[in-house]
């Protein structure tokens, strides 16, 4: 059973949080719309004669995301029509990108290995079907508030080898998207959708297996991991029994952490792609792309490295703080506030970092946080004579520990420091006490 490896490629759809839709001026906020079909117009309803006009911001953000994922930006790009019938698809085709996506060939590092990005392209979302009962009759209603919302599709190479790696990759991708501020990337609301394509092959084989299983309806990173784990086991069992798993689309079932067959995909759908004649091809100038590149914010990886170097905090602390851009920004404003005045300079970045781990940045203003940390520090201060008295008390009581220390047990010293602190009811500077103890114990 151990000589198999999992081969996973991911398709991730992300709704961009532009203020208007992809091809019209309608408001892009389907999730908070008070009523169905209010953010609509001839274009996103697919009325006769309506024409799409691409959203510049959405294109810019797609390029920004591509750059953040290390992609090459394609200076020639175009939109194509992808045809299929579904009642939530107003025009009978989706405007997407076929052979000239905006971004290609990126790379995302994870602790379990790199995941190459095959392409990043821009398309439009569909409307939404609602199954309801109206006047006692079961009906299906269509809400076009989401129709033509800008949607980015990120396609990875089949580089993912485990459920755990998929999770790491997705967390990182999610973090980057949130850092760029181009999407809420909220999986519950469907603004980030995850579809792993899973297959299994013998270790040592390099060719892609001759089948793959796509799993849909997954709305968390943990579920992606579980779906991959479940599928891996299922495929290995089938392969061991001498059958190739069926190429199909499966749905994830949360309650049982398993997947069920939805539809067979043996014959790939023919979408009859062709260039959308309503939208002229897009030629980007290199300096335009450079301009977008300049707006790239510092990404998590770089931020973590800088925090460690600049502020002397631990890698764990830096990673934790940089996880969320708003926390990281909060941290830095606290640091600069503290370092800006001689009164508060003793509140070092390390102290701030340690205290940040347990609080949420939005609960206190930086000033409030610094003030409270300062108060704590002041409280810790005690007269040297009090400390000396406490040390005397402890040294009289703890003869065993003194023996241990003298015979070379280093941990005994830390125990003594702890006892002195206890005597001082938590006050006093630990490093000062340690130094005093060392002096006394010769």
């Amino acid at each position: 059973m151990n000589d198999y490896e999992t081969v996973v490629g991911m398709e991730i759809h992300v709704e961009l949080a532009t203020s208007s839709k992809m091809f019209c001026g309608c408001k892009n906020d389907p999730f908070n719309a008070p009523k169905p079909n209010i953010y609509t117009c001839p274009v996103c309803l697919g009325l006769p004669g309506a024409l799409p006009v691409p959203n510049k911001k959405a294109i810019e953000w797609t390029i920004l995301l591509g750059l953040a994922l290390g992609c090459e930006i394609q200076l020639y790009s175009k939109f194509d029509r992808k045809h299929y019938f579904y009642p939530d698809l107003a025009k009978g085709y989706q405007i997407s990108q076929y052979d000239h996506p905006f971004c290609r060939n990126g790379n995302v590092k994870t602790a379990l290995g790199d995941v190459r990005i095959h392409r990043v392209h821009l398309e439009e979302d569909t409307g939404k079907l609602q199954h309801a009962t109206v006047d006692g009759k079961k009906v299906t209603l269509v809400d076009f508030n989401r129709s033509s919302v800008p949607l980015v599709e990120i396609v990875t190479e089949a580089d993912i080898r485990s459920g755990e790696q998929a999770k790491l990759f997705l967390k990182k991708l999610h973090q980057i998207i949130r850092y760029l501020g181009v999407s809420s990337a909220d999986m519950e609301k469907g603004s980030m959708r995850l579809e792993p394509n899973i297959s299994v092959r013998k270790v040592g084989e390099t060719a892609l297996p001759n089948y793959k299983v796509e799993v849909k309806n997954i709305n968390s990173f943990n579920f992606v991991k579980r779906a991959i784990d479940f599928e891996t086991k299922r495929h290995i069992e089938l392969l061991e029994a001498g059958t190739t798993p069926t190429q199909e689309t499966r749905g994830y079932v949360e309650s049982s952490s398993s997947t069920v067959s939805q539809r067979s995909k043996e014959e790939a759908a023919d979408y009859r792609y062709f260039p959308d004649p309503d939208i002229p091809p897009i030629r980007l100038e290199a300096r335009y792309v450079d301009g977008i590149k300049k707006t790239l914010p510092e990404l998590p990886e770089a931020k973590i490295a800088r925090f460690i170097k600049e502020y002397g905090i631990s890698a764990d602390e830096a990673t934790h703080i940089a996880e969320d851009k708003t926390i990281a920004e909060y941290f830095e404003s606290c640091v600069s506030l503290a370092q800006g005045s001689s009164d508060t300079q003793k509140i070092t970045p390390v102290i701030i970092a340690r205290n940040l781990i347990n609080i949420h940045g939005d609960k206190m203003t930086p000033k409030q946080l610094i003030d409270s940390l300062l108060a704590k520090e002041l409280e810790k201060q005690v007269d040297t004579s009090v400390i000396t008295t406490s040390i005397d008390v402890v040294l009289q009581q703890q003869t065993k520990a003194i023996e241990d220390f003298k015979s070379g047990k280093v941990s005994a010293l830390m125990f003594l420091v702890g006892m002195v602190k206890k005597e001082l009811k938590g006050k006093g500077d630990a490093s000062f006490i340690e130094a005093e103890l060392k002096k006394r114990l010769g």
Binding site: P42, L45, G46, L47, P48, G49, A50, L51, P52, V53, P54, R81, H83, F85, P87, A90, K91, G92, Y93, V142, D270, R272, Y273, F274, D276, P277, D278, I279, P280
Partner: protein
């Protein structure tokens, strides 16, 4: 009979208060009463048009009555594109072209019949019956803007609007003996026009004179932020260049040496036109036809039919996908035979494994035509050719061949798939049948002013235009 006035005359007389809107619209109404049922031109009419027009005296177009093809979306009229799929469909928005025309002071009398979805060159594929040619009702008006061409010819409007994908303005104009102007692709917004083949659709004016089409052109052209294929370009003031003539222009004659077309009367007329332009100071020469792409020669139009058929059917199949009857209109079983044929062919040519063979190849040949015209327009200011090979065909002719329209539009398709502007002017009238022929004058991209200069000169110097009163 004020309904026979040209756009130019009507505006002038209305502004000078020589005539009233009431008088003008009464004559239009009378003519509609006399002709509409017989010829089947209008699908819908606005009974309040006169009251609307009266308020427009101070606008550039002064409230003149115009006819609009039924594929332009209009809030005041049902818009069907002559298909049962859209029977009774009331648009919730107005096309850019009709919005612009109305704000310039045009009043829409009614919506005109057409080939269903603009699929055809006869008006016979309309789900609401064929339109008859006002010049000779046993004959077809051409199409797809057959209703608009007939409306001008029958004087049931002062000017009209059509749309051309490959010949749909110029071919019916030629057959009905009127003037049809097809602007450069992208010059006029397609927003709110029921799409046929999005990469070639161009709305255009149709009128009694070259000047009338120039006036209407200026009111409908220009960049539209709702149509991504309309670039930021100044709209040329065609009305102010009409009298400038052709002196010094280099004009090339095309297709008169084609084995079939060369034998036709129309070729004789084009050669005559060449002489006329030469007399007025142009440098005129024959551009030899070539079966392959050669410098200084015009690439045979024969392949344009194939290119156009493949590209246009593909776009048609895609554009008609939205008519599913869920949000508006009737379901897909309401499509007529021609639309079904085109949807099937287009779906086939875009299918996996076939798109290489058909669609992609067609686009390559399309590029050859583009290249050919780019080279020719380095040497010439204008190209002239017959608009159609021959006269209007008899009613029923289109049913004989599914490729009927493509053969009729063969001479226009190379320029249409290249996005070039062109204008068709009457160049002959057959005395026995009262049927007309047209000359097609093609200018380089974005240079419509060149073609109207030649067209206007020709119109003034020849007897073929019935409103210039020289017959």
């Amino acid at each position: 009979m004020l309904n026979t006035l040209t756009v130019k005359e009507a505006i002038k007389k209305l502004k000078a208060k020589e005539i009233s809107h009431h008088e003008l619209y009464a004559d239009i109404a009378k003519q509609i009463e006399l002709q509409n049922e017989k010829l089947n031109i209008y699908l819908s009419l606005d009974k309040q048009v006169e009251q609307k027009a009266e308020k427009l005296l101070d606008t550039p177009l002064a409230g003149i009555p115009i006819a609009v093809k039924d594929n332009f979306l209009t809030k005041e009229f049902p818009t069907t594109a002559s298909s049962n799929v859209l029977k009774g469909f009331m648009p919730t928005y107005e096309s850019t072209v009709t919005t612009k025309l109305m704000s310039a002071g045009a009043a829409i009398v009614g919506k005109t019949n057409m080939d269903a979805w603009a699929h055809g060159s006869s008006t016979e594929t309309s789900d609401f019956g064929v339109t008859k040619n006002p010049r000779n009702p046993e004959h077809l008006p051409g199409g797809s803007s057959g209703g608009s061409a007939a409306a001008v010819a029958a004087d049931v409007c002062i000017g009209a609007i059509g749309s051309e994908t490959a010949g749909s303005v110029r071919q019916p104009s030629s057959w009905c003996g009127v003037v049809g102007l097809k602007p450069t692709y992208g010059r006029v917004s397609r927003y709110g026009v029921v799409a046929m083949a999005a990469s070639t659709d161009s709305p255009g004016p149709m009128g009694k004179t070259v000047e009338d089409t120039a006036i209407l052109f200026e009111s409908m052209a220009g960049r539209d932020t709702k149509d991504a294929t309309t670039p930021e370009k100044d709209v040329p003031k065609l009305t102010s260049v009409l009298e400038q003539g052709v002196k010094g222009m280099r004009i090339g004659i095309c297709y008169t040496d084609h084995s079939e077309i060369g034998k036709q009367q129309v070729s004789k007329q084009i050669l005559e036109a060449g002489k006329l332009f030469e007399k007025h100071g142009a440098e005129v020469s024959l551009i030899p036809l070539s079966q392959k792409l050669e410098k200084g020669k015009i690439f045979t139009p024969d392949y344009a039919i194939g290119v156009y058929t493949v590209v246009q059917r593909g776009e048609v199949a895609s554009n008609l996908a939205r008519y599913d009857g869920i949000r508006y209109g009737n379901g897909r079983s309401f499509f007529g035979a021609e639309a079904k044929r085109r949807i099937m062919l287009g779906t086939f040519t875009l299918s996996k494994g076939y798109s290489e063979q058909y669609y992609n190849n067609a686009q390559k040949v399309r590029n050859l035509y583009l290249q050919n015209f780019q080279e020719l327009f380095a040497q010439y200011d204008l190209l002239i050719s017959p608009t159609t090979p021959s006269y209007a065909q008899k009613l029923g002719a289109s049913f004989a061949s599914p490729m009927y329209g493509e053969l009729e539009d063969m001479l226009l398709e190379p320029t249409s798939i290249s996005g070039l502007p062109g204008i068709s002017v009457p160049c002959y009238r057959d005395e026995s049948t009262n049927l007309f022929l047209g000359m097609n004058i093609v200018a380089p991209w974005w240079q419509e002013e060149k073609m109207v200069r030649a067209a206007h000169l020709y119109e003034m110097e020849t007897p073929w235009n019935t409103w210039r009163g020289k017959i």
